[in-house]
C-alpha cells in the first residue's frame, strides 16, 4: 500500500511534467500538422536557462531562493519562459514559416535539423569564452557544455505531511551518540524519526538534525536513544528540540509546486483555447487554415502565438524538472531525447491535436512508467528473473503502450477522425 501511494505521488508529479511537454507537441501539430521535433530541445534549453539563472542568482547576486526572497524562483521561471518563447518564435519564423506551403515531410525533416542544431549548440563547451576583459581574461563563458552539472536548490527541501510528535528539552545520554528525551516515545515499525534542534557552534546558530536509529518499541522518558550523526552529551544538553516522525508516503514541497504550477497552466490553457476569441481562432486554424483566413483571422500571427504558447509550456516544465531531478545532463545526452520522446508518445496516445488528450496521455505514460517499474520487477522476480530486470524495462512498457494504442485506436484515446460533409 505504501509503495503504491509513493508511486502514485511520483506519477502525478512526473505525469504533469509530461503533460506540459505533450501539450506543446499537440498544439503545434494541431495548427501545422507536423511534429515539432525541436520541442524537446527547447525543453533542454529551458532547463539550462533555469540552471544558469539560479547560479547567477545565488553566486553573483547572493540571493538564496530557498529562503527569501521567495520571488527569486518565480523570477527564474519567468526568465526561462521568456528565453524559450523567444527561441520558439524565431524557429517558427525562420525555419518553419518559409515552408508553410511545402509538403509536410519537408517541414518534418527541417524540424529534425533544428533539433540537431540546438543539441549541438548545447554541446559547445563551458570553457568557450564569450567575452574577455582588456587583459584577455574570460569574463563570461557558456553556461552549458559537454559535462553534467548539478542544479542549486531553488526550493526548501520540505516534506509537507510530517508530524511533530513532541517538543521539549534534550539531554545528553550516558555516552557519545546517545540522547535522552524528557517525554515517552513509541516508535512504529518501518517509520523514521528524527530530532531537530538549534545548536550554537563557533558563535553561529546552526540547525541540526539527528536521526533516531533505534528500532520499534516504546521508550519511557530518559531512555538512552542512539542517533546518527553521533553527538557528545555536552553538545546537546539542555537544548530545546522537536521530535518529528516522517510520513509513510512523504509529500514533498517540490512535488506540490510542480503539480500546482502544471495544473494552473493547464487550466489557463483550457480557458484560453475554449473560452476566448484567440482560442477560437486557434481551433478554426487547426481545422482548416485557408477557411480560417476567410474569417478574418491573421493566420501567421495565430501560428506564431501557438508556437510561443507551446514553448512557454515546455519552459515551465523545464523549470520544474530540475527542481525534482537536480542532476542536469549535458544538452545532447540521450536522456533528454528519451524524455521528449515520452512526452511525444503521451500526445499520440491521448490523441495528437487534442489538448485534453495530451494531459491524459501525460499522466497515463507516467503511470505506466512508474507502476510498470514497481510491479514489473515483482512479476519478473516471481518468474525467476534477477531483481532489477523489470525496472530496467521501464521504457519498454511505455513504448508497448504506444504500439497497443496505435493498433486498437489509431487516433489516440481522445482523438476522433473528423469527416467533412460535402
Amino acid at each position: 500500500m505504501t509503495e503504491l501511494l509513493q508511486t502514485l505521488t511520483t506519477t502525478i508529479a512526473v505525469g504533469s511534467l509530461y503533460a506540459l511537454l505533450a501539450l506543446g507537441y499537440t498544439l503545434v501539430y494541431g495548427v501545422l500538422k507536423f511534429i515539432n521535433f525541436a520541442h524537446s530541445d527547447i525543453f533542454v534549453l529551458g532547463a539550462w536557462t533555469t540552471f544558469t539563472a539560479a547560479n547567477v542568482l545565488t553566486d553573483r547576486l547572493g540571493i538564496n531562493p530557498t529562503q527569501s526572497p521567495w520571488w527569486g524562483a518565480v523570477l527564474i521561471l519567468l526568465l526561462t519562459i521568456a528565453v524559450c518563447a523567444t527561441v520558439g518564435y524565431l524557429i517558427e519564423r525562420f525555419a518553419y514559416r518559409p515552408l508553410r506551403k511545402a509538403p509536410r515531410l519537408n517541414v518534418l525533416i527541417t524540424a529534425i535539423g533544428v533539433s540537431l542544431l540546438l543539441q549541438n549548440l548545447g554541446q559547445l563547451n563551458g570553457r568557450v569564452t564569450v567575452a574577455t576583459d582588456k587583459d584577455g581574461r574570460p569574463t563570461a563563458t557558456l553556461p552549458f557544455g559537454s559535462t553534467p552539472r548539478s542544479m542549486p536548490p531553488l526550493l526548501p527541501d520540505l516534506v509537507l505531511n510530517e508530524t511533530v510528535l513532541s517538543q521539549g528539552t534534550l539531554a545528553g545520554g550516558t555516552q557519545r551518540g546517545l540522547v535522552k528525551l524528557d517525554q515517552p516515545l513509541t516508535m512504529l515499525d518501518g517509520r523514521t524519526y528524527r530530532i531537530e534542534f538549534t545548536r550554537t557552534a563557533d558563535g553561529q546558530p546552526r540547525r541540526e538534525v539527528l536521526a533516531l536509529t533505534a528500532t520499534a518499541g516504546t521508550f519511557p522518558p530518559g531512555t538512552d536513544l542512539a542517533t546518527q550523526p553521533r553527538r557528545s552529551p555536552a553538545e546537546v544538553d539542555g537544548l530545546p528540540y522537536s521530535l518529528i516522525r516522517s510520513p509513510r508516503v512523504p509529500i514533498m514541497l517540490v512535488d506540490v509546486v510542480i503539480v500546482a504550477v502544471a495544473i494552473t497552466l493547464m487550466l489557463g490553457l483550457e480557458f484560453l483555447v475554449f473560452r476566448t476569441r484567440l482560442g477560437r481562432a486557434m481551433r478554426a486554424l487547426s481545422f482548416n487554415i485557408e477557411n480560417a483566413a476567410l474569417m478574418g483571422i491573421n493566420v501567421n500571427a495565430v501560428i506564431s502565438f501557438t508556437f510561443v504558447l507551446g514553448t512557454a509550456l515546455a519552459a515551465a516544465a523545464a523549470f520544474l524538472y530540475p527542481l525534482k531531478y537536480p542532476g542536469l545532463n549535458q544538452p545532447a545526452h540521450q536522456i533528454w531525447v528519451l524524455l521528449g520522446l515520452k512526452a511525444f508518445i503521451a500526445a499520440v496516445v491521448g490523441g495528437i491535436g487534442n489538448i485534453r488528450g495530451a494531459v491524459l496521455g501525460g499522466f497515463l505514460i507516467a503511470g505506466i512508467e512508474f507502476f510498470g517499474t514497481l510491479y514489473g520487477d515483482k512479476l519478473f522476480i516471481s518468474l525467476g528473473a534477477r531483481p532489477g530486470l523489470g525496472t530496467s524495462l521501464a521504457d519498454v512498457y511505455v513504448f508497448s503502450i504506444l504500439i497497443l494504442v496505435l493498433l486498437v485506436k489509431p487516433n489516440g484515446l481522445l482523438g476522433s477522425p473528423v469527416k467533412e460533409k460535402v
Binding site: 477560437r280 481551433r283 481545422f287 482548416n288 474569417m295
Partner: protein, 235 residues
C-alpha cells in the same frame, strides 16, 4: 465607379494556366454571376479575387488596388468570401461558427442585433446553436455558412456554389435568400453551376469556358441566348 473591378486577371498552378486574362466589374448593389462548366476557372477566379491565390493582372475593390492582398485584411475592408464546400468548422458548435463570422468586429451591441436578424432569416439555425456544426445537414450547413459570412458585414459577398449538393427545394430557398440579402444592399459575386437559377437571380453574368470569358452581358439576355441555353440550360 464599380465596387469591384477585375482587369486582365490570370492565375497559374505551376505550369498549368487555370484562368487567362479575365476582366469584369460589378456595380454597387448588383448580383454578378460567374457560370460555366466544371474546371472553367470559376472558383479559381473567386479565390484570386479574395487573396487566397496570387494572380497577375489587377483587382480593384472600392477604388483600392487589392491584388494579392491577404483574405483576412480584405475581410476587414468588407470583401467576404463564403468558400466552396461551405468552410464550416465542424470541430465547433453552430454558435461558435457564427461567432467566428464576427471575429473582426468589436461592436458588441450591433453584433447581438445582427445575430438576431440571422435567426429571423435562418430559423433552423437558431434551433441548433449548441449542436456541433458537423452534425448539420448539407442545407443547414450552407445556411450557416451564409449567415456567418453576413455577420462579417460584407460590402461585397463572394458566394461559391451555394446550391451544390442541395435538394431542389432547398436550392429554391437558398436563391430566395440570396435575393433578399442583395435587396438589403449587399453586392454579390455568385459562382454557380446551376446556370438556370443563377441567371434568374443575377443582374449580370459572365460565362467562363476553359479559363477565359466566353460571353458576358445582362443575365436576362444571356438566359435567352441560344449558345447559353444549349450549353448550360439543357434546352
Amino acid at each position: 465607379m464599380p465596387l469591384l473591378k477585375v482587369e486582365n486577371l490570370s492565375v497559374r498552378y505551376g505550369s498549368i494556366r487555370a484562368v487567362t486574362d479575365i476582366s469584369f466589374s460589378i456595380e454597387q448593389g448588383e448580383i454578378l454571376t460567374l457560370i460555366g462548366a466544371n474546371g472553367a476557372g470559376k472558383t479559381t477566379t473567386l479565390r484570386a479575387v479574395s487573396g487566397m491565390l496570387k494572380p497577375t493582372g489587377s483587382v480593384h475593390f472600392n477604388g483600392h488596388n487589392i491584388t494579392g492582398t491577404r483574405p483576412d485584411i480584405l475581410l476587414r475592408q468588407g470583401l467576404v468570401h463564403c468558400p466552396e464546400g461551405r468552410g464550416i468548422f465542424s470541430n465547433m458548435t453552430v454558435l461558435e461558427n457564427l461567432e467566428l463570422g464576427t471575429f473582426t468586429r468589436h461592436d458588441n451591441e450591433q453584433i447581438h442585433h445582427d445575430m438576431q436578424s440571422m435567426f429571423t432569416l435562418f430559423p433552423r439555425i437558431k434551433e441548433r446553436l449548441k449542436q456541433n456544426a458537423g452534425t448539420l445537414s448539407g442545407g443547414e450547413q450552407q445556411m450557416l455558412a451564409i449567415a456567418r459570412a453576413l455577420l462579417a458585414r460584407p460590402k461585397l459577398l463572394l458566394l461559391d456554389e451555394p446550391s451544390l449538393g442541395l435538394a431542389p427545394q432547398l436550392v429554391q430557398t437558398i436563391f430566395k435568400i440570396i435575393r433578399e440579402i442583395n435587396e438589403q444592399g449587399v453586392t454579390i459575386l455568385l459562382v454557380e453551376q446551376n446556370a438556370h437559377m443563377a441567371l434568374q437571380v443575377a443582374h449580370h453574368a459572365v460565362v467562363l469556358e476553359t479559363g477565359s470569358i466566353a460571353m458576358t452581358g445582362p443575365a436576362s439576355e444571356l438566359a435567352k441566348s441560344d449558345a447559353v441555353r444549349k450549353a448550360y440550360l439543357g434546352c
